[in-house]
Point group: D3
Chain length 136, copies 6
């Protein structure tokens, strides 16, 4: 049977700072530039969750997007929104909160909550001009 | 030879109501919530048609996007725009007009009109935050 | 003291049909074209509420936008979203639900709920290309 | 002679926290909710600068938008982008960085740099759904 | 009676070059930079036409937006779209096609075609970040 | 190891005209319509560059998006922006500057500058409604 992908868009506003424990201070300043400023900056992150599967012939849904929206809100938005990713979100205690790493973290959280019959892909916009996708 | 994908975006405004004949009234109300309200609601649907093929070396086109736009208008927009999908579009007489099913219906209509040398993919936005893709 | 305007954007999805009791059927068909189709069509309405006033020096707010968002949700979205404006919303029982009239109705509902020290303006997008503003 | 308005859009990404020295901690938590979280959050601020004046008949310009863009970059973006508004921008040392106050601060900085023959208005988007305008 | 504004958005794609007959070549190069390059460049212009008037109680319309759209298409888009503004549009034979001047020209064309009971305002986007408004 | 895609969006404004040396004048007029007008028209081209690779565990980056942005600016924007593609860009001396061909040309330029460990994909918007992707 042919598969359909459904997408749900949510957002969260967070502070972060790019700083890697594997680099010294000069290297951090060199690699991350103003993203490394010590007092943090922030973004309106736009998050798109793609779920792929077969249409349920009884409902016409692949997955209920309201249910998916609620899952994203409870698992991601509640924990990331209006937070400092470096200080407040335990996954980034030892992990640099680049867009790439945030997308992988979000994927891994949602993957555990989603039935294995579905494929899952995360797109994360840090700004309108910079965004990432995982997996791909 | 390498392939290029071309995309054309069109839109239509329609009323619909989610209601499945395979579910009883209580189940319909439970599964579809306010999307099941009896007097219909509606959307500005954004439709993106992706056609993939080789560049014609004489023209530099994969396909003439104006021709593709006209095809979408005559086959889809003429029949769906300013209509009630449940009452006015025969494909949804016995099919629940979820975004997933609308995308499959649009795909099947256009697939018959498009040269088989092209690949075809449909993306349908029901709202800015909810959209679907078929096939994938 | 100088005044600041604050804006809050919300949305609702509704069905409607343009039909005026002051016109006969032929005139309605002529004036409203496909917007007059009997089985309704629909839109994703984008609603922008502008409130103008002085900054409260204690909070730095003109008005709490979360409070304003909740007011719009309880007074407008709850009553208009996923509804048929002609059949389900009493203000349009004898009033043609053009974008102009919807904007005036929304204004009049919110005006009664908002402290008279504030100015109020409504912008309503029926589509990306057609929108209205009241008062002006 | 008739006047024309020209608009230039720039952006900056910053961290902030809403906290008023005129309120105690419980009042701050009550008024500002999650915007008061101690470790900051952040936004992609979109800034629109409107300058109104007469067209120079020699150039056809009201003002050179590249010059205006450079002014915004040197006076605002350089000082606000990738910064913590509360900690790094001196204007908010004793002023709560609400969108309203940020817009007034930006206006006052640019007003001093712009020829008095021009009118100036600032629009600041904190998110897609919340934005402010000053003066108005 | 209170007034309502209605807006209609159309677009056209055109080539142009900024060059003023009142300036010599060195001044033109200095003032307009790469916008003065001799072989032209181009834009997707977004045009927003605002018409303000009273709601007709019989129809609920200020003005029929389809009629307004057709007027914009016949008077502006037909003449400007896929054209070279400097070479193909007679109004710019001796007038530098800056966004400011294009907006004034569009206003003057439409003003003659629109009933004097309406107010008219033109907004013209040259890019997402640069736009103008006339009158104001 | 799983791969992540990173995207960077840039833009350029250019004039062009569709005209193929493999077609005679009547055929060019017939195939390309108003896109074949002799005096050129133009677009705000939006360019999205997608680079896919593994996350560098030391930095958390697949590739530094600022470096990628600078590469796009030096290799593409410097050469295409505010230019006439037919007359000023040597790759289109004998190649019709359709969106498809522009995307292939951009891909081939960037492919030589990018480490072969990365996958590269180009998306080019000619207008909001017409865009292309290569390879796919």
């Amino acid at each position: 049977m042919n598969k359909v992908a459904v997408y749900r868009k949510e957002h969260f506003n967070a502070a972060h700072r790019l700083h890697s424990a594997a680099l010294n201070d000069a290297e951090n300043a060199d690699v991350f530039g103003k993203c490394n400023y010590p007092n943090y900056h922030g973004h309106n992150y736009e998050l798109i969750v793609k779920v792929t599967g077969e249409i349920d012939p009884k409902t016409g849904y692949v997955v209920d997007l309201k249910m998916l929206g609620n899952l994203i809100k409870s698992e991601i938005v509640e924990r990331f929104d209006h937070k400092n990713l470096n200080l407040d979100v335990k996954e980034f205690k030892d992990l640099n909160p680049t867009a790439e790493n945030i997308a992988v973290v979000i994927h891994d959280i949602l993957r555990k909550k989603l039935d294995s019959k579905y494929d899952l892909k995360i797109t994360l916009y840090e700004t309108e001009r910079n965004y990432v996708e995982f997996p791909c």
